[in-house]
C-alpha cells in the first residue's frame, strides 16, 4: 500500500530527526577538539565539542553557491561600525548545514500532489524543497547578473548587490524557475535564524548576533533579576553546547 511506504519513510526519518551536528562535522569537530583539548577547552565542557563548530567542509553548497551565500550574508547583515555581520558570524556555514538537513530536504512537509499555484493565503505550494529552491534561485540570479552586469552576483560591487537583493525582495526581478519574493523571504529568514540561533548550529559565531542585541542565551534563571527594572544584565552569553562567551575585556 502506498500509504504504508510513506508511513515507514516518515518513521525512519523521525529516528534521525535533526542531528545537532552531522556525522561529518562531528568527526572534524572531534579531531580539532582533541588537538585543542589541553589548552583551549575548559574542563567543564563536554570533550567532544570544540570551542567553535566552524567547518570548511561543504555539506550542500558547491563553491559558486557558497560565494553567492557569502555575498548575500554580507549585505543582509553587513559588517560595519557596529561590529561584525552575518558573514563573520558564520551564517553561511549555518545555511549550508540547514539546507543539507531536515529543513532543506522538507522532511516533514506534505509533498504529495496534485500541485497548484494557490493563493497567497494558501502559502507555499512549490514542488521544490528549500534546498532545491535555493539551488534554482541562485543559478537564476547569477544568470540575471551575468546578463545585466557580466559578472556573477558575488563579484558585483556592494551597491549593485543591494539593488539585486531589493529587486528580489520586491519581486521586480523575474526569475524563470522560482518566485523571487519567495526565495528572498526564505533567505532573509534563514540569515536571521543563523545570526540569532545558538552558536552550536554554526552561525552566531562567538555570539556575534547575541552580543549585538544583548541577548544572554539560555541563562535559565532570572528570579533575582526580573524585578530589577531598568538594570542591565551583565553576565556573558551562554550556548547550550559550547559553554560561555569569554568575558569582555574591561
Amino acid at each position: 500500500m502506498a500509504w504504508m511506504m510513506r508511513l515507514l519513510r516518515a518513521n525512519f526519518r523521525t529516528a534521525t530527526l535533526m542531528p545537532t551536528l552531522s556525522r561529518r562535522t562531528f568527526l572534524i569537530a572531534s579531531a580539532s577538539a582533541s588537538a585543542a583539548a589541553c589548552s583551549k577547552i575548559p574542563n567543564t565542557l563536554p570533550p567532544e565539542y570544540p570551542e567553535q563548530t566552524r567547518s570548511d567542509a561543504p555539506l550542500f553548497l558547491d563553491a559558486s553557491e557558497r560565494r553567492f551565500i557569502n555575498a548575500a550574508c554580507a549585505r543582509i547583515i553587513p559588517k560595519d561600525d557596529l561590529g561584525p555581520g552575518a558573514l563573520e558570524a558564520g551564517v553561511p556555514d549555518f545555511i549550508d548545514r540547514q539546507l543539507a538537513g531536515p529543513f532543506g530536504q522538507a522532511s516533514t512537509w506534505y509533498m504529495q500532489g496534485p500541485w497548484a499555484k494557490g493563493s497567497e493565503q494558501q502559502g507555499y505550494q512549490l514542488k521544490f524543497t528549500p534546498a532545491q529552491m535555493y539551488r534554482h534561485a541562485m543559478n537564476n540570479v547569477d544568470d540575471y547578473c551575468n546578463k545585466q552586469f557580466k559578472k556573477a552576483f558575488a563579484d558585483l560591487p556592494p551597491a549593485d548587490q543591494d539593488n539585486v537583493l531589493t529587486g528580489l525582495e520586491k519581486g521586480d526581478i523575474d526569475l524563470p524557475d522560482v518566485p523571487a519574493k519567495t526565495f528572498f523571504t526564505m533567505l532573509l529568514q534563514n540569515v536571521t535564524e543563523g545570526f540569532f540561533a545558538d552558536p552550536m548550529y554554526g552561525g552566531n559565531r562567538d555570539f556575534i548576533g547575541w552580543k549585538l542585541i544583548g541577548f544572554p542565551g539560555p541563562r535559565y534563571n532570572y528570579v533575582e533579576e526580573i524585578e530589577q527594572y531598568g538594570k542591565p544584565y551583565t553576565l556573558p552569553p551562554v550556548s547550550l553546547k559550547l559553554g560561555r562567551a569569554k568575558p569582555e575585556k574591561a
Partner: protein
Amino acid sequence: MATRLKPVDAVLVGFGWTAAIIGQELTDAGLQVVALERGNFRDTVPDFSPTQIQDELRYAVRKATFEEPDRETLTFRNSTSDTALPMRQLGSFLPGVGVGGAGVHWNGQNWRFMPTDFKMRSHSEQRYGKKFLPDDMTIQDWPLSYDDLEPYYDKWEYLCGISGKAGNLNGQIQEGGNPFEGPRKREFPLPPLKRSASAMKFDEAAKSIGLHPFPCPAGNASQPYTNTLGVKLGQCTYCGYCEWFGCANYSKASPQTTILPVLLRKDNFSYKTNATVTRVNMDSTGKKATGVTYVDAQGREFEQPAEMVILCAYSLHNVHLLLVSKIGKPYDAESNTGAVGKNYAYQMSAYVDVFFDEIINPFMGAGALGQVVDDFNGDNFDHGPHGFIGGAYISMWQTGGRPILQHYTPTDTPKWGGGFKKALKENYLRSASMQIHGGIMSYKQNHLDLDPTYRDIYGNPLMRLTFDFQKNDLDMEKYVTDRAVDIAKAVKGNRGYNVRARTGHYGIVEYQTTHNTGGAIIGDNPSNSVINKYCQSWDVPNLFVLGASAFPQNPGYNPTGTVGALTYFAADAITSRYLKNPGALV
C-alpha cells in the same frame, strides 16, 4: 488484517490534557483505561532538560514538537468557491504531538470564559436586538452556564496551581484582579508571578487612561506548589522558554507536571505511543462504538475494543475522526444542515509593539507573564454604537525575548542591511509587544469537511478547512487595536509604536494562534450540535468528544482553562451517572 486486542473499559484517543484528566477520573472509578497517542513519550527529564530544550531554532522555528504535515495535515481555502490546497508546512497553528499534547508547549495563559460567553446568542439578541447579528452568523448558546462550570474551573485551577489574583470573589470585586470576570468561590491557588518591566509600564499606562489592568492568570507557578493529586510543581525561574517548549523546571502546568506522576503508576491505566487512531469502529446498528482501529510505527493495524470511546485528540483531529468514521451527519454549508464540521472558529491577533527609552530585558519572562485589560473583551462594553459583537483582551506579554522570532523594529526601518542591524541593536532590549487577543464568531460558511483530493499518510482523506475572517470580527479587532494604541500612547518613556493590524483575508502562512475550535460542538439538541452538555455524542452514547471542538464559537480567551473545566464536568457526569446506567445522559 488488524490484530484484535483485549477489550478495555475505555479507550482514549490521544494523550494530552483531556486524556490525562479523564484517564485519572475513570481509573479512580475503577475502570480499565488505555490511551493511544500518535507521538512519542516525553517527560521533563530528559526531554525538556535545560541543556536541551532552550533551543529556539529546533523547537520554535523548526517546530520539533508539533504535528508533521507529511503524516497528517489539512487542506485550506478561504471560501467554498476556491479549491482547497494542502497546508504543506505548519504556519498559522501548531497542533502538538506526543504525550502531554499541546499541554507541553502552551504558554500557560489560563482563563475562564465570562458568564455571557456561555449565552452568546441569547444575551446578544436580548441586549442589542435580533437584527444586530448578521444573517450568516451561526453562534449559539452553550447548554450549560458559567455557574454550572465554576466548580470545575476551580478544580482545574487547583490541579494546575494557577498563579493569579481574583477579581470577583462571590460577587465582591477585588482590587488588583479582573473586575470583569465571573464570580469565583475562592482565590487562586498561587499569587501572581513577579512582574516584568514591560508589565509595569503597561499597568501604569492603562490605569492612567482609566482601564483596569491585572496579571494574566498563569499556569506558571509563582511559588512551589503541591497540587490536589499530591504532585509538586517548582517555582518558575522566568527563563523565557514556555511557548513551543517543554518546561525544564516543573513550573508550567502540563499533564507531566500535574497528573501523570499519579496516573502512570496505576495498574488499571496503560498507554501506547506511536499509535495513530484511524477509525472509530461501530457495531451494525450504528448506535454503538465497539472500539478503535490504530496504526503503529511499523504500519501494523490493531483493533482496540472498548466499552467507551473517548476522543481526546486535538480539536481538528476529533472532528476528522468523526468524519472518517462516518459518525453523525456531516455539516453541509450550502443547506446549513448536518452538524459534524459546523461552527469552526478561530481567534484574531493583532499587535502593537512599543519602543521604550529604558531597557526592559525581554529575555526575562514566562509564558503567561503579562498584564492585561479586559475592558474591551466579551460584552464588557456597549457594542450598540459599534455594530459588532465580541471583543478582545489587550495584554503586554514578556514571554522570553527569544531573538529569532521576538525582535521588534520600527516599521519605518529597513528589513535588512545596515539599517536593519542598527534597528536590532537599538530596539531589542527596549521593546515589547501588546497583543489584541480577539474572539471569532461562527458563521454558516466557515466549516470543516473531508477533502475530495488529498490524503494523509494513513490513506484517509485530509480534512478540508473553509475559513475566512468576517466583517464583525475584523471590525471588532480594529476597534480594540485602536484602544491598544491609546495605551501605547500613554506609556511613559515611549519612543514610538508599531501597529500590526489584522486585516483582509485569513491566511494559513503566518503563525497566529493554536486556538482552533468547533466542528463537534456542544448544544441542547441533536439538530444543532454533535454532543450534549456532557460531551456525549447524540448519535452514539458510548462515545464522548472532549476539547475545544465543543466550543460553539470562540470567545476572546485562550481555551485551555475552559477545556480543562469542561472535561472535569463531563468526567463527573460519566463517573456519577453514566457508569451506573450507560446510555444517553440527556
